[in-house]
């Protein structure tokens, strides 16, 4: 009797394991599936309430993708998003890494308060800031230019990423830098030769996080940009694919799919490092 109950236990455990796994896979993959199938369905099929939305009733079509790429400037919007994303990531790294390092190392109690102060600025929402900032953008003559976004987006990426890098640098023992300083480098040299290579996980985290924030940002992009050729994906798609009360569902979903898949891949590719990035210091 004992072996059979043992086996039953094993099977039920395995079953539970797979059940939970399957549930999570369905949960995370289902939105992608829905976007994907909607992209290729004919509008008639989509809008018929008697049809199951998750299977094809009429043959698939490329019409929605044609509209997306031929009748809107989606390709340009993607390029714009990538451009702003890369610029903002660069600026964020340039500011957040040295700031995080100095907050982690070079100041005492004041550094801690300063760190909290910087983090607090992250909590001021764009809905409060976009009106005053639009004046700033206008005064700088940047209205309707992607550079306005490059200028404004770091205002929310830098504080958070500074905080993130600070936690990261704090977890690196000082001994390592001191050893490098004795071994022949200045503090700056030790920083580049030892601290930065160890912090790759944190830097990756900052890059992915910043890029995600830029991709999904809506309010500033809507406020500062008026020409369609300067839109980012997050503004262009809802502006052009929702006309009055007509939703171009197929093209909308196609646009969302194309914009979200690279980020999903990026996340998954660096998942381990990403988690390490967020939990470092917490498990010290």
């Amino acid at each position: 009797m004992a072996p059979s109950t043992e086996r039953a236990k094993q099977w039920s455990l395995r079953g539970m394991h797979f059940g939970i796994l399957a549930a999570f896979i369905a949960f995370s993959a289902f939105p992608f599936y829905w976007m994907l199938i909607t992209t290729f369905k004919q509008t008639r099929d989509l809008l018929n309430p008697d049809h199951n939305p998750f299977v094809f009733h009429d043959p698939p079509t490329l019409e929605h993708l044609r509209i997306l790429f031929m009748e809107t400037q989606f390709g340009q919007w993607l390029l714009n998003t990538v451009f702003v994303g890369v610029m903002v990531v660069g600026i964020t790294l340039m500011l957040a890494i040295p700031a995080g390092y100095s907050l982690a190392r070079l100041t005492g109690r004041m550094g801690e308060q300063l760190g909290i102060g910087i983090f607090l600025t992250y909590l001021v929402p764009p809905t409060v800031l976009f009106i005053p900032l639009s004046r700033v953008v206008a005064n700088l003559g940047l209205q309707d230019s992607l550079w306005s976004l490059v200028l404004v987006y770091p205002s929310f990426t830098v504080p958070f990423c500074t905080w993130l890098m600070m936690g990261f640098f704090k977890a690196i023992p000082r001994d390592l830098e001191e050893a490098a300083m004795i071994d022949g480098y200045s503090r700056i040299g030790a920083f580049f030769k030892v601290v930065i290579p160890i912090s790759v996980a944190g830097i990756l985290t900052v890059i992915i996080f910043t890029f995600t924030l830029v991709t999904q940002e809506f309010i500033y992009a809507l406020t500062f940009i008026t020409a369609a050729s300067n839109f980012t994906v997050s503004v262009g798609v809802p502006t052009f694919l929702v006309r009055g009360d007509v939703y171009f569902w197929g093209s909308l979903m196609g646009a969302c799919f194309i914009a979200s898949v690279p980020i999903a891949f990026l996340y998954n590719f660096f998942l381990d490092r990403f988690i390490a990035g967020f939990t470092v210091g917490a498990i010290k």
Partner: protein, 343 residues
Amino acid sequence: MAIVEARNIRKYFGEVRAVDGVNLATREGEFLVLLGPSGCGKTTLLRMIAGLEKPSAGEIVIGAQVVNSLPPRARKIAMVFQSYALYPHMRVFNNIAFPLKAQGVPKKARKEKVEWAAAMFGIERLLDRKPRELSGGERQRVALARALVREPDVFLLDEPLSNLDAKLRTAARYELQQFQKRIGTTTIYVTHDQVEAMGLGDRIAVMNEGKLRQMGMPQEVYDEPADTFVASFLGSPPMNMVERNNDIVGFRPEHLLPTEVHGTSEHLVTFQFHLSRVEHLGAGRLLYGLLGAPFADQKVIANLASNVMIVFQPGMSYTFAVKTANLKFFDRATGLRIEPRPL
């Protein structure tokens, strides 16, 4: 090689006087041990010599040059940290080559030197590993090889053996000493472990509360302590200290022996010893007890070697004695050593 000197060095952290006016100088090629309890300032002193801390006052001299204003990299020193501070993202080879790379040594010479340093410590087969794949003893050797590879004037070692288990530590201690004798580089070694200090040092500098208490050869510091702190810090079990009038009389547990064990021709001072507890250590016995009049009820320990066969019963009184020459006298107010006087 170089002589390291600290001239009236002070380091204050706010109100805390971590190092409070230390003067000391090594000799050429010497193995000097800085010994003291945690918080006595020995690590701070070492870090000031390394240039990782700025002294509040005083001068650090290395090889007849005042180095106060020089950064660590310009002082021709190498340091081994308690944590070893191996660079986790580099293989052992690159860890050892790191100081050479910083100095701009060409690649070929770098490889030769790394292999030479690795051979010194028998770690040639580890060169391709990452630090996290090494045991504690291997990490320590890599750290030493990294320190050695640039052939510094001075080695600074900050408790490099304290992360090793007890058995390994003894072997590592011996290796370290042999290595230092072989290359003959002036070495300053910080530890709180008096056994390590006695075993390793050419000389020991005992520190407490930011001050240098005594400096001398191990046997000298052990036999002729300059004050009550040094007397009680060195030796295990520590020196017995009994009060008498305005003096403190000290004697080592191994010198407190039953009268019959001493030779007859020697000048002895006898004590009544009320035995309360016997501890068998295998290599000998520790007898805990109280002294009789005139040192009524002061606790002492006697350390008997295993060749003393006499049976002792707790609760009984015995006559013990110490050679007059082995009694050390200290001033009760200052704790400083004073001239011997009759009891």
